[in-house]
Symmetry: C2
């Protein structure tokens, strides 16, 4: 059986962008989990991407897989792309290369070195000229896109964009309150429907031509789409892209948790 994989960073300009990346002088240890290293992208870097999605920051599953948006947020974003007929021609980058620890100060968010390196990534992706739509997930990503739009490349670009709610905002805003979560989900899906309506007309070259089917008021079957194996490095087991919740930060206090990632193979994998 063939297992497609992501060949990674072997071509310019990406091979240089991952060779020299901002470190603790740009991303301070008191705002980012610098100790786990930067995580750069997921998806096509070969110039074939039609949609660029900008997320926020990597979490524990991303840290193990070394690709971004591979957990529940990724599955929901993948579903959003699928509704636009985009199944392979996409690329994800994040606002931040490192996982956020606590909150990010305004001075860091606006740091020219942080913004400048990210703008180099956006330039590199946009330079191919094939991107037809940009999606930002959450407020930090929307701001990141805004910063790029003030650069010469950004000002010259006429690409369509939509700022949509971050895919796990319903969970983070509702703190285990089911009623609140259902309301936040409903509100988010309405917001995502606006995004779909903005972008569907802009995407002239989808991977598959399908009629636009909007979200309902809650998640429906097919709204959450698994990440394809080809987005992952070679040799990673199927459960890493098919399942979620297999990595957790565990420890008796905040520092112990910060130092830890505990992986458990999901039940049913070992016969």
């Amino acid at each position: 059986m063939q297992h497609l994989f992501d060949p990674g960073y072997f071509e310019e300009p990406f091979s240089t962008l991952v060779l020299e990346y901002p470190e603790a002088d740009v991303y301070p240890f008191n705002q980012f989990r610098m100790e786990w290293g930067p995580i750069f992208h997921r998806g096509r870097l070969d110039g074939s991407a039609r949609v660029l999605i900008i997320g926020q920051d990597p979490a524990q599953h991303e840290t193990i897989v070394r690709r971004i948006l591979v957990g529940e947020a990724g599955r929901r974003a993948q579903g959003f792309l699928a509704k636009l007929g985009i199944t392979t021609s996409y690329v994800f980058i994040n606002t931040y290369l490192y996982s956020v620890w606590g909150s990010v100060k305004a001075a860091t968010r606006k740091s020219p070195l942080l913004v400048g390196h990210r703008n180099q990534w956006i330039d590199a992706i946009m330079d191919g000229g094939k991107v037809e739509a940009v999606v930002t997930l959450g407020t930090a990503a929307a701001e990141a896109w805004g910063f790029w739009k003030t650069t010469p490349g950004g000002m010259a670009s006429t690409v369509a964009s939509a700022a949509i709610t971050h895919p796990t905002q319903p969970e983070s805003s509702s703190k285990n309150d089911k009623t609140k979560k259902a309301l936040a989900t409903k509100k988010m899906l309405a917001n995502w429907n606006s995004g779909l309506q903005t972008l569907s007309a802009a995407i002239a070259h989808p991977d598959t031509i399908i009629p636009l089917k909007l979200y309902g008021e809650a998640w429906a079957e097919g709204d959450r789409v698994p990440m394809p194996e080809r987005d992952f490095p070679a040799g990673l087991p199927a459960w890493m892209h098919e399942q979620d919740g297999w990595a957790a930060r565990r420890g008796s206090d905040d520092l112990a948790k910060r130092r830890n990632i505990t992986i458990n193979v999901p039940k049913g994998i070992i016969p």
Copy 2:
């Protein structure tokens, strides 16, 4: 600061070898930790390797890094290469793509599909024509090399080879008995000295020309050499290649341990 990295599997024949690899019909779940996926190599796949080292099977650090021989065994093997003047022009593969669980049955070890896929890797590495020496670590690796030597390519090859004791054999054979471990280390280093003497004459193009300095009767300073950053995928933090013991299999029973890998960032990394 530049961070060199291993670009991975983007060129033939390696990109096909990692696309289609033997699975559970070849490597049974009752002899291998199939659930963690295959781990293929460490080092140069660009035809520049002068030494091929064959190890045994990947353990937990290898599973996270997705490169082989990155823990203590790797550090010792790296030291062996350094004594031969080889600092970058090497490639490691393993006898087994997956981590051994319990022991490997003879029928599995000799399985034509298992041996055949490994022989394709050896062919691919030897085809460049630059390899001047082959080192096997432990008995399974020596057998693997012997199998390749019965193939047309192996029979035609005149490359020098040395079968040396597996780098962590002193630990695995002594079970925390310090006297036994010291004796086993002494014996292993004498065996490694024989290997060095066999191979040093065969290596016509070392990375650095240095006089051959044999091992003493115990590990000395400089005998264990850190893995270079350039052997690791892009973005991995420095402690993953500079340190050992940061990944463990934890659980209340054998199955729980098998399902688990627990990573803890070493102390002193987070300021």
